[in-house]
């Protein structure tokens, strides 16, 4: 009887369970905290660049609060955008990036299609090999490559070094393997029956690629394009080594070599140049962001 009485007094729990929604709220608060922390960490440098780019050289070297612009000026922007030299760098960069992206996609899309779909002897090994070449850093490659082009010039008289178009041969060594690897992953996620259906419908391999695979793997294609563009736009080591004349330079190297004169750093213009240089990738990301994310989350092809 006594035990019954105890039971009737209701449940007594020593452990207190939090409600689901309270747990979720805390999880969200922590997520926002770390996201905010990361955002500050990532955004402070560009903000500092914007602030500095709006200052005159005198104000930059003055001992005032570096986080505030007292006499805002657009002179840095006007000077750069009216300087033929800077426009030349920009043009070279744009030219190199666009052509490199084109070359990369023209090589890596058919390569990935062949490696993922046309099962031939050694195709799997070759696919791994393609990826391994990407793992070799450019800091290891630039010397042998330089030697190679120097030798080519000795033997044939074709001098590529110190011309912007040498970069068209160099950058794909970085972009093609990775883009191919991304595309292999995409194409592999397309069900086998899809190309079999296309083949039975009467499509050739090429038609299967252009009319089925490329449209279906478009998010991956865009991801690979963005990647190739970013790599060629931001590449620093190869142009530094292979091009020296001012009219052959691309922007990252051009800004450094033309705006740092001896030990004089023209900070205002360096910051402005860097900001202007960051604009094209930023614009491209903004437009293709949705595709890019869809691309990274992959495999969304199964109808």
């Amino acid at each position: 009887m006594s035990t019954l009485a105890i039971d009737k007094s209701g449940p007594r729990r020593k452990v207190k369970y939090g409600s689901m929604s309270r747990d979720r709220t805390w999880a969200l608060r922590w997520s926002y905290f770390f996201l905010a922390l990361f955002a500050i960490f990532a955004l402070v440098p560009p903000i500092y660049m914007i602030i500095t780019s709006l200052k005159s050289s005198a104000e930059i070297s003055a001992a005032t609060n570096p986080w505030w612009v007292f006499h805002p000026t657009l002179s840095n922007y006007i000077e750069l955008l009216t300087s033929n030299q800077f426009l030349r760098f920009f043009w070279n960069s744009a030219m190199v990036s666009v052509v490199v992206v084109t070359i990369t996609m023209l090589i890596s899309v058919p390569a990935a299609f062949a490696l993922s779909r046309m099962r031939f002897w050694g195709s799997a090994t070759l696919a791994t090999g393609v990826f391994l070449t990407y793992l070799i850093p450019d800091s290891l490659l630039f010397l042998p490559l330089f030697k190679m082009f120097a030798r080519l010039s000795e033997w044939t008289g074709i001098s590529l070094i110190n011309h912007w178009y040498v970069l068209l041969l160099l950058y794909p060594t970085l972009t093609v393997p990775f883009a191919t690897w991304i595309m292999i992953g995409y194409f592999a996620s397309i069900p086998k029956e899809l190309d079999e259906a296309a083949i039975i419908d009467g499509a050739s391999w090429f038609q299967t690629l252009t009319r089925i695979f490329i449209p279906v793997a478009l998010p991956g294609l865009i991801a690979a394009t963005i990647f190739a563009f970013t790599v060629s736009w931001a590449q620093f080591l190869y142009p530094l080594v292979f091009t020296t004349s001012t009219d052959q330079l691309v922007m990252p190297v051009g800004i450094i070599t033309s705006l740092i004169k001896g030990d004089v750093f023209n900070w205002g213009q360096i910051m402005t140049g860097a900001l202007l240089g960051a604009a094209p990738p930023l614009i491209i990301y903004a437009f293709l962001m949705d595709y890019y994310i869809a691309g990274l989350t992959a495999g969304a092809t199964k109808g």
Binding site: P191, L194, I200, D201, G202, P215, G303
Partner: protein, 365 residues
């Protein structure tokens, strides 16, 4: 439209022989179903007819022409896949017309064919949708539409209903049959589901381990199976097999199933089995519907006592399971027969419909 002929077709992957010399003649307009357990070589055979797999040896003919080295697109076939394989970026109409557009058919012709196929399959309202916006059944209709608009010599179906739920599968089965009645295109259909095979086929080809076990109409396979494999594979619940032996008792032929269970054979059966060596190891095969509660006495129907292990009421009938000499046996009794778990029950066996098999070779005698 055309007939399809397979002559000693072999498919070997490295060491494994997936298809071991198949001979098959499919007549014009015929609906043939290849059925068998997974790994029996049925899909490989279909894919060889499609041209998606090379043939190791033998010949495949479509419409009288050997097509061994003809690429799939020139074989004039259409295929429907298990996972539909619709092009996800195209609308229903574009999916259906893709093949015609590749062959540069005139626009008006394409439009009329697509409209006609869509009407036949009842997907006219879906014509501008993308596959993502369709249900499984609708997708499979589109896949069939894609095959129909091409008006090919042969339709090939590779387990087209396996991804659908049970109810939809029955519905689509009827749909496929209706389509075949309308277009009359020679059809080869692969499935592992023997019910699908029985319901759809003009003729069923039962395959096992890369060989053809038996070819016949659904009724032939059901009532006159040639081997133990076919007898056990066709029909659900499956046929019961029990060890048995033949005995001569007072000038009559008896079949002994257990120490205390021996039945005289009906005259027709006795005549058929008279010359079977008595020492032979034999199996008796009885379908569950030939093990019932005792009904009107007829020659060849014998009764015996059993104790039921389990009963399964199905509504229109009750499946009863009991053990005989260590073998589980299934019978089908009417729901009113009073079958109860664990209770004894008198059952009747119809020996007019029994099968006698050689245990070693599995051949039906």
């Amino acid at each position: 439209m055309a007939e399809v002929n397979l002559r000693k077709v072999v498919k070997r992957y490295d060491d494994v022989e997936a298809v071991r010399g198949i001979d098959l003649d499919i007549a014009d307009h015929e609906f043939v179903v290849l059925v068998g357990p997974s790994g029996c070589g049925k899909s490989t055979t279909l894919r060889m007819i499609a041209g998606l797999e090379d043939i190791t040896d033998g010949d495949i003919m479509i419409g009288g022409d050997v097509v061994n080295d003809v690429p799939p697109k020139d074989r004039d076939i259409a295929m429907v896949f298990q996972n539909y394989a619709l092009y996800p970026h195209m609308t229903v109409a574009e999916n259906m017309s893709f093949g015609l557009r590749l062959k540069h058919y005139p626009r008006a012709e394409i439009k009329s064919r697509v409209t006609e196929a869509a009407r036949m399959l009842d997907i006219t309202d879906l014509i501008d949708r993308k596959p993502k916006q369709l249900s499984g059944g609708q997708r499979q209709r589109v896949a069939m539409g894609r095959a129909i608009v091409r008006n090919p010599k042969v339709f090939l179906f590779d387990e087209p209903l396996s991804n659908l739920d049970a109810k939809l599968r029955v519905q689509m089965r009827i749909e496929i049959k209706k389509v075949h009645q309308k277009v009359r295109t020679t059809t080869v259909y692969v499935t592992h589901d023997q019910v699908e095979a029985m319901t759809l086929a003009d003729r069923v080809v039962v395959m096992n381990k890369g060989r053809i076990e038996q070819i016949g109409t659904p009724n032939e396979l059901y009532h006159k199976p040639a081997t133990r494999f076919v007898a056990g594979f066709i029909g659900s619940p499956a046929m019961n097999f029990m060890p048995c032996r033949l005995e001569d008792v007072a000038g009559r032929l008896n079949i002994r199933v257990a120490d205390r269970l021996s039945f005289p054979l009906p005259p027709a059966r006795a005549a058929r089995y008279r010359n079977v060596p008595r020492a032979e190891k034999l199996l008796i095969g009885i379908r569950p519907e030939h093990l019932t509660e005792p009904r009107a006495p007829e020659p060849g129907i014998e009764t015996f006592e059993s104790v039921l292990d389990v009963t399964e009421p199905m509504g229109m009938e009750t499946l009863v399971y009991f053990t005989l000499e260590g073998t589980q046996v299934c019978g089908r009794v009417s729901p009113g027969a009073g079958a109860t778990d664990g209770a004894p029950m008198r059952l009747a066996v119809d020996l007019n419909n029994m099968h006698l098999l050689n245990e070693g070779s599995g051949v039906v005698l």
